[in-house]
């Protein structure tokens, strides 16, 4: 602890003001260009989480002509032979950068258990608190000097399997910074600001810096005598929050800096604006961003009235995801950014009596896109009725291992639990044909 009287310069430094205290806009494009040119550049991962379990039959593995096919039509994409739903036209234009896995097969058909399995690679229960793959990858990919959180999650589901969204044995330091859980009604665009990021009215930057300095002094004393995991977690969280409050850092979350026509292209909802935020965060070096679609309400859990709901979800998905691809490409960031589209399971190819589709883990789809991915292809094949995998069956561990490999991270890299047990990032084999 520094016992000298507080002087202004020191205060500014304590609060991270000073050199970078002005607007950040001019340095951004230059930084992005530099990042794109650097061979050791940060790799980024964007996880598009489809909460509720998306219908593969109405999106990326259509069955036209079969009774299970439903009401949607298939369209050609920019990649010869690869066909998507008619409600994903913008994505179809990016098909050369998309690789669809159509032969994913898992064993968990319950939302909680499926969510845990897909996100950690392991079914729930058991002695190890497995981290979500997003937390583990954020830890691998984070540059040491990053001020922004290494993992930002936009509007994740709040009720399902909390453990599947957390850092498990890696510890709370690797937990995501969550945005967008506050309802934003009556606005033109969904609002994704981190709340309470600004100083309270009447508190100057100088005063805030003095508060933090006092806080650090108290904390140092307390933690020197008391070490307890929950105490460390509390302390680490506050440091993270204080870091975020630096003006040039918090500007990353200010979507109002984007022109309205750009915001509109992404779509006005939480998902679209979340994809825009993902682009802004990737530009600023954040290695992992997750954007959930369908986390509020039933989402992709379309037991009833599947086609109306999937149509609406597809439109949101198409606008957000396709615009994200375009804008990352324009900034030369798509090659360093790997995208995975996935939910907790697929849906029954057969249509139930309420025009719905039910949970179906036996044969379903996920999609890779962007950096490290050999696009323009589909891997694996399901039967004409969609009920089973006929070729190249893929396990969830293989999907997670492929994601690691596409990001340049060895999937067999091990983290050690507190019980000295080594745990691989992903138990599975990368699908070589999908890697570029």
């Amino acid at each position: 602890m520094n016992n000298n009287p507080l002087d202004r310069r020191e205060l500014l430094r304590a609060f991270g003001l000073g050199v970078l205290g002005t607007s950040c806009a001019p340095w951004l494009p230059a930084l992005a260009a530099e990042m794109a040119a650097d061979p050791r550049r940060t790799r980024h991962c964007i996880l598009l989480w489809m909460s509720g379990g998306p219908s593969q039959t109405d999106t990326f593995d259509m069955k036209p002509g079969h009774a299970n096919g439903g009401t949607f039509k298939e369209i050609a994409t920019a990649a010869p032979g690869l066909r998507f739903s008619e409600h994903l036209p913008k994505l179809a234009a990016h098909a050369e950068r998309l690789a669809v896995v159509r032969s994913l097969s898992t064993k968990e058909g319950d939302h909680d258990r499926g969510t845990h399995l897909v996100r950690t690679g392991h079914p729930p229960m058991g002695p190890v608190a497995y981290p979500s793959i997003a937390c583990a990858l954020a830890q691998e990919l984070a540059p040491p000097d990053l001020s922004l959180p290494a993992y930002v999650s936009v509007a994740p589901p709040q009720q399902l399997s909390p453990a599947a969204f957390g850092p498990g044995f890696l510890g709370p330091r690797y937990a995501p910074a969550v945005v967008g859980q506050q309802a934003s009604q009556g606005r033109r665009f969904a609002d994704l600001k981190l709340d309470d990021l600004e100083l309270p009215a009447g508190v100057s930057q100088l005063q805030a810096a003095r508060r933090m300095k006092l806080w650090h002094a108290l904390e140092d004393r307390f933690l020197a005598q008391r070490s307890d995991a929950p105490f460390e977690a509390h302390h680490a969280l506050y440091r993270k929050a204080a870091d975020l409050m630096r003006p040039e850092v918090r500007a990353a979350f200010d979507l109002s800096q984007e022109p309205d026509d750009v915001r509109s292209k992404y779509g006005p909802g939480m998902f679209g604006q979340g994809c825009l935020l993902a682009r802004r965060l990737v530009e600023r070096g954040v290695p992992l961003v997750e954007v959930a679609l369908g986390a509020g309400g039933l989402g992709w859990d379309t037991h009833q009235d599947n086609f109306t709901q999937v149509l609406r979800l597809s439109e949101e998905l198409d606008a957000g995801w396709a615009t994200l691809m375009t804008e990352l490409q324009d900034r030369s960031l798509l090659d360093s950014t790997t995208i995975l589209w996935i939910g907790e399971f697929g849906r029954t190819p057969s249509i139930n009596q309420m025009s719905g589709r039910d949970h179906f883990p036996t044969a379903w789809s996920c999609v890779f896109a962007g950096g490290g991915v050999a696009g323009g292809q589909a891997w694996g094949r399901t039967s004409p009725d969609g009920m089973s995998v006929e070729e190249n069956k893929v396990a969830i561990g293989d999907v997670l291992a492929t994601l690691c490999a596409a990001l340049g991270v060895p999937p067999d890299h091990e983290n050690i639990t507190s019980a000295e047990r080594p745990i691989k990032l992903a138990e599975g084999t990368p699908i070589a044909a999908l890697l570029s």
């Binding site: 016992n3 009287p5 507080l6 959180p149 709040q158 009720q159 909390p162 957390g166 709370p172 937990a175 995501p176 910074a177 969550v178 945005v179 859980q181 506050q182 981190l194 709340d195 309470d196 990021l197 600004e198 100083l199 309270p200 009447g202 005063q207 003095r210 508060r211 006092l214 806080w215 002094a217 108290l218 904390e219 004393r221 307390f222 933690l223 005598q225 008391r226 307890d228 929950p230 105490f231 977690a233 509390h234 302390h235 969280l237 506050y238 993270k240 929050a241 204080a242 975020l244 409050m245």
Partner: protein, 491 residues
């Protein structure tokens, strides 16, 4: 009974062997017991008189005083309300939740027997008795949901798995589960969604549950017991309540005691009442049995149960421990618990009571049931701070919660000199800086400042040259204390 608890724990510590932590200081104990039993940090005056008191029985007296305070009833109502309602039920039905709070508060204040409390909840007819019907309503008055909840809360058995197939571990078959659910098959909520009408629950003369994917009707059957014949005088749920709350139902008393233990010690005495956890020290099972028997003998007297637990030596142990920490299931030291959102907010209010002249928050128009108007700022604070369900000792807040405590409206009103009664009092001209610093520490951390802390804050005040600067210096000191790790935990 407290001595008996300590005797059984001590035997375990000796067998291992582990050395228990030292006894917590008076200051630590006062703050701990106040938060656990009354839900708030102690006031400055309480800390001063407790520390000055040289009666050797002062801890026992403190426990008695806390159990008789109004804070006890509201804290228990909050804790219990959160426990029985599924997460997410509250914000949507704020008024009903407030009514349930009031209903519970009255019962905890009069120390209603626990069996009667549970019976009253499960047998509510709703209507004019606003509140407890929210329990049924939050579970959609669906027999299988009510059954799973009742089994978990009052029997300590997690049954949702048995809904679809036989319980993989405990010996509850799918048929057992639906036999249990059948007791709730004739409870019915009101037709239609009349939002304003009182929510009335009726017991019908017909209504059954069927095994999933079949037409087979499952009659009501007590878990591991006989089938229950329909009675002309008792509704099905009344029959269940009689079985559930009977003195011989060990599931009922064990689940209650295990929950009470968790409330005080941060983790349940027995992690799984279904006997699923092989690592469980068998001695904890024996201790749970004795506590449960004692609870039944006392006539399900909750205050007596709290008194037993709070007067154990185990509850007085410090959370500090030199060397490698002992396994938590041995309770050889106190586990720090993060303050709940309610404890945080209510402790803020102890520090900075709402000024009587403060403007009414928007949307708080007084209604006919004036006492059901919960502070909307408090409700919003709690909604946003509520951690996901899980272990009470894990700190699981996110950046948003930290930012809210640093910059949000609740901490703002406590630390703004114009609105904070506490900061106003510190400006009194007769106080010395030493006394001001002491009051800051007593109010937040319930202890005297250390030499280092005294020096830190003295320097801060010495640098502040005019009244305005001193005012903001005191505000900054309070802010730093309220956001400290030490404040955020009950340890």
């Amino acid at each position: 009974m407290s001595a008996r608890v300590d005797e059984l724990l001590l035997r375990q510590w000796q067998a291992r062997p582990v050395t228990p932590a030292a006894i917590a200081s008076d200051a630590e104990f006062l703050r701990r017991a106040s938060l656990d039993l009354a839900g708030v940090v102690p006031r400055v005056s309480e800390v001063r008189s407790f520390l000055a008191d040289d009666d050797p029985a002062k801890r026992r007296r403190l426990i008695d005083r806390l159990l008789g305070s109004s804070g006890y009833a509201s804290h228990m109502a909050t804790t219990w309300g959160n426990r029985i309602l599924p997460q997410g039920a509250e914000p949507a039905r704020a008024r009903e939740a407030a009514a349930l709070q009031k209903w519970l508060r009255l019962r905890f204040a009069s120390n209603l027997r626990y069996d009667n409390l549970v019976g009253g909840l499960l047998l509510t007819g709703g209507g004019d008795e606003l509140g407890p019907a929210l329990y049924y309503r939050a579970l959609d008055v669906a027999p299988e949901k009510i059954a799973a909840s009742v089994a978990e809360l009052f029997l300590g058995v997690k049954l949702h798995c048995a809904q679809c197939h036989d319980h993989p571990l405990a010996d509850w078959s799918q048929r057992d589960f639906w036999g249990f659910a059948a007791f709730f098959s004739r409870v019915k909520g009101p037709d239609g969604m009349g939002m304003q009408a009182p929510y009335r629950l009726a017991d019908l003369h017909a209504g059954d549950v069927k095994l999933p994917d079949s037409d087979e009707v499952v009659p009501p059957k007590y878990p591991r017991g006989a089938a229950a014949a329909d009675s002309p005088s008792l509704t099905r749920r009344a029959q269940l309540v009689l079985w559930l709350t009977s003195r011989d139902n060990r599931f009922f008393s064990r689940a209650a005691v295990n929950w009470a233990w968790q409330h005080m010690f941060g983790r349940p005495l027995v992690a799984s009442l279904e006997g699923l956890d092989q690592n469980e020290p068998a001695a904890n099972e024996a201790l749970l049995d004795e506590l449960a028997d004692d609870f039944v003998r006392s006539g399900f007297d909750l205050q007596a149960l709290w008194r037993t637990l709070a007067n154990t030596r185990a509850y007085q142990l410090s959370s500090r421990y030199e060397g490698d920490q002992p396994p938590p299931e041995l309770f050889a030291r106190m586990l720090p618990k993060p303050l709940t959102p309610e404890q945080l907010y209510d402790s803020f209010l102890v520090l900075a009571p709402r000024r009587a002249d403060a403007p009414q928050a928007a949307g708080a128009a007084p209604s006919a049931e004036g006492d059901l108007d919960e502070d909307p700022v408090r409700l919003e604070f709690i909604r946003r701070m509520r951690p996901p369900a899980g272990e009470p000792t894990a700190y699981r807040a996110g950046t948003l919660q930290a930012l809210m405590l640093m910059n949000g409206s609740a901490s703002r009103s406590v630390t703004t000199p114009q609105t904070s009664g506490f900061l106003g009092a510190l400006e009194a001209p007769f106080m010395t800086d030493d006394q001001r610093i002491e009051a800051l520490l007593l109010a937040t951390l319930a202890r005297q400042p250390s030499d280092g802390e005294r020096a830190l804050f003295k320097r801060l005040l010495a640098e502040s040259l005019d009244d305005a600067a001193r005012r903001s210096a005191l505000s900054d000191a309070l802010w730093a204390l309220l956001n400290s790790t030490e404040f955020a935990f009950n340890h």
